[in-house]
Amino acid sequence: MTSVASSERNSLPKIRILAENVVNQIAAGEVVERAASVLKELVENSLDAGATRVQIVLKGSGRSLIQVVDDGCGMSRDDLLLAFERHATSKLARAEDLQTVKTLGFRGEALPSIASVSFIEVRSAATGAASGTLLRLEAGRIAHDEPIASNAGTSMAVHSLFFNTPARARFLKSAATELAHLIRIFKQYALAYPEIAWTLTHDDALEYNLPPADLSTRLNDLFGAGFSDKTASLQFEAGGVVVSGVVGLPELNKKSRGNQYLFLNCRPVQSALLHSAVRSALRELLEEGEWPFYAVFLEIAPSELDVNVHPAKLEVKFADEQRVHGALYRAIRSVLTERFVQDSRLAVLPSDAAERSSENPSVAVPQRSDLFSRQTVASSGDMSPLTSGARAPDALSSEQGLLRPAIFQVHGKHLIAQIQSGIAIVDQHAAHERVLFEKAIRSFDERSFHAQQLLFPMLLELDPEMDALFVEVRDDLAKLGFQIRDFGQRTYSVEAVPAGLRRVSESGMIRAMLEEYREFRRARFEPLEALAAGFACHAAIRAGDLLTADEMTALMNELFATRFPLTCPHGRPTVIHVTLSELDRRFKRTE
């Protein structure tokens, strides 16, 4: 019935043999897209065999040779023969638990497909067996079959891939591209299985030699010494979703993709949903067009997902997408600390401009530039001497009668401040949004907003849609300082508002917040963040609000005390930094 069986029984009708070959070649087109797909299948087989050492040997970017040698449980001759039969997965023989999708390969179509488009040499010996088997296949047909002496484990060598499918061979990209794909597959599994020892040799050069390790050592071994220091570890569990792994600090962001590693139950997967969760969780740290580094592992009960969507098993589907998205999002948000900011972007904003002005008094350095010194202050109160530092030079300059405004407001919407390395331009609305957003988030726990009681309670009448949103957020609004009484029939009385808001239209506030909340929810913000963002969006000063010097100072202070001063909650920038060299270049002063 199959190619393997038929090669032993030549009496079977020819037409059936051909049909099987065609089937395998067609299947090969689906499963075996390129050399990297072969490597993936072979590595998964080794892992499923319980290997602790996996050696990979490549030649000619995989076109000449892809060989994977493991010390796994190996296969008996019967298993081996069966393995090259379509849909007869050899792993079914191994254990009962293989019937779940916890193993990597399970469709049983990979090996016959690969075999149909290559020459294969397999050496395998089952654990405890007296001898092993050597099998050679040519385009799926057994050409050689003999017992050999061998240690437990399997060596599978795939030669001359696509030798008989020139169309497919033509589709292969340059050797460099194919090699890059192979390396990526290697890195994926090396990351997913740091406890396994891996080597990779290409054209007789040892490219990687990875001893068994933990994830952070593995990261360093794969990507360079000190790499793991530029990442933050994830450890999170919610609603049956366990998240681990690392996300990179912004300095690891790249303009091109390729360093995103996502694993579901240790299986490399692609998921637009999960990628968007990572992106939106990291939104403040990503600039337009940038890709973060991450190696994220999710563990979910197999019953909650469907991986059998595509033969390459890369795409997954979840029973409850929102829950998985939420868990991953929160896992990342929860580890984002000031460390992210400190180590990256804000470093460009200097801290010693004030010192410099005293060294070189002829240079008019504004006194306020030391605002930027406080790059990171924990909300709870790591108290840098900012306030005194910012005030003192002010007093000095007024004594000297030098009225040098530290911060300028232009067009009623941007603040411009001189900093040592150039100019910082701040969008006042976006900046204030960031400040209020973080304060609101804190307020959900700490109630940092007090309630300013109102003389004239404001009546709020909501339509059914708005009312449904309102009911969702009502308790959290109270934590922001709103006090709202229910009059029934979707009518409420607002009796107190968050204290200390300036230039805010209180009367329109809740309605506007609800509308923003709805939009942020649609953009997949988590509920509290959506509410905080809606609040910040409405309560923030706007373009056109003229600010006093004190207000500008306060705003800058508060902005740079936030966790993510460089973006507003939408992810848009709050600060544009123009360096002196950029200015010189634009003025054509570059030497």
Binding site: S448, S505, E558
Partner: protein, 370 residues
């Protein structure tokens, strides 16, 4: 149109109207003075469509006429000219010429036909008041005007005139000022209206001298007249909130404090308070008020005590320090009285003694302490 007048008389007349001229307007004609000459009487008008102001002066007229003068350039030129007779001429083509002792300036202008129609003073019985009293009342209440454009009524000054009293009320929902004055008599109709804050500010500017100001109340406009100058303002439509209903009548806790001591203490606390919330806390007991301030975000805190006399329950109450300072600034007596209800209800702030014929009452809403 041709006339001649001294630099000083021209400058002071035009200067009076300068605050009405909008700095930016989609209607460029509004950035001009409307100038009309009839015999010796020169009438100058400015408007921003909401408020209009007119003043008159005597000049030596040579040829009657009507023209627009570009406000900023004309006024700045006048300011820089020496105090000598200035000859002004508006040509039919709209150009304005100023000539003085060999100086000659020629300004482009807009067509006078495009100037909007300006409302005229309706002759009703005026209320007569000393300029200083009106100025005082406006200055006492203006701080509490709201900026919330979605509640336009609160952005104005509520003005109520009756046979006995002129009353102004302002509120932004967080604090409220009610100031009344027993005037010397008014024979016009009792009226309530909401006057735009900008008009009130301009009215206060008109009250710079000794002598009286006349106010003309109608249901569409209010006019103020001082000497040759008249300002007419449109009113804000809508109902003013029922302020009387929110003035507590049963605040039983009476706190009396030395104004200077209390003010100085709150000012110090305000420095340390959170820059946004400005929150302070008053712990009131029988003979002293402890003022506590804590800015968790910046890690600053402070406390001090002010002696007081207090009849009431011990109370712990939060306020926005800026609001407290705003109301204290309006107190002219050596001591201030706070009539408090509960830590979440309106407190009444008053001087210990009212000025003659005056009744000043302020409300301040607390911040609920968590």
């Amino acid at each position: 149109m041709k006339f001649q007048a001294s630099q000083s008389s021209l400058f002071s007349a035009f200067q009076t109207l300068a605050t009405i001229i909008p700095t930016k307007s989609p209607m460029p004609v509004l950035m001009h003075f409307l100038v009309q000459l009839t015999g010796k009487k020169l009438v100058v008008t400015a408007t921003d469509l909401e408020i209009s102001m007119e003043t008159q002066l005597e000049v030596s007229g040579e040829e009657d006429g009507k023209a627009l003068f570009p406000a900023r350039k004309y006024l700045e030129l006048l300011r820089e000219l020496p105090d000598v007779p200035i000859h002004v001429e508006a040509a039919d083509n709209g150009r304005i010429t100023l000539t003085a002792e060999g100086k000659n300036y020629n300004l482009a202008s807009e067509n006078v036909q495009n100037y909007p129609k300006v409302p005229s003073l309706e002759k009703v019985e005026p209320l007569r008041l000393s300029q200083s009293q009106l100025r005082r009342m406006i200055s006492k209440c203006s701080f509490a005007v709201s900026r919330d454009e979605l509640r336009p009524q609160l952005t104005g000054v509520y003005a109520k005139v009756s046979a006995q009293e002129l009353r102004f009320v302002t509120t932004d929902g967080h604090r409220l000022v009610k100031i009344g004055y027993q005037h010397n008599g008014y024979k016009g109709a009792a009226l309530e209206s909401i006057v735009p804050a900008k008009a009130m500010q301009n009215a206060a500017r008109l009250c710079e001298r000794e002598g009286d100001i006349e106010m003309f109340f109608t249901d569409k406009q209010i006019a103020f007249r001082v000497g040759p100058t008249t300002m007419i303002t449109k009113l804000i439509e809508g109902r003013y909130p029922n302020y009387e209903a929110v003035i507590p009548s049963d605040n039983k806790n009476k706190l009396t404090l030395d104004l200077d001591q209390f003010q100085a203490a709150v000012r110090r606390a305000a420095i340390v308070s959170n820059e946004i919330s400005r929150q302070i806390r008053l712990k009131i007991s029988a003979d002293n008020v402890e003022i506590l301030v804590e800015d968790i975000e910046q890690g600053n805190e402070g406390r001090e005590s002010v002696s007081c006399s207090y009849a009431g329950e011990p109370m712990d109450i939060g306020y926005n320090a800026a609001y407290v300072l705003d109301v204290l600034k309006q107190i002219d007596t050596g001591e201030v009285v706070l009539d408090l209800g509960t830590p979440t209800s309106a407190g009444i702030v008053k001087p210990t003694e009212q000025e003659e014929k005056e009744d000043l009452l302020m409300l301040i809403m607390p911040v609920r302490l968590n």
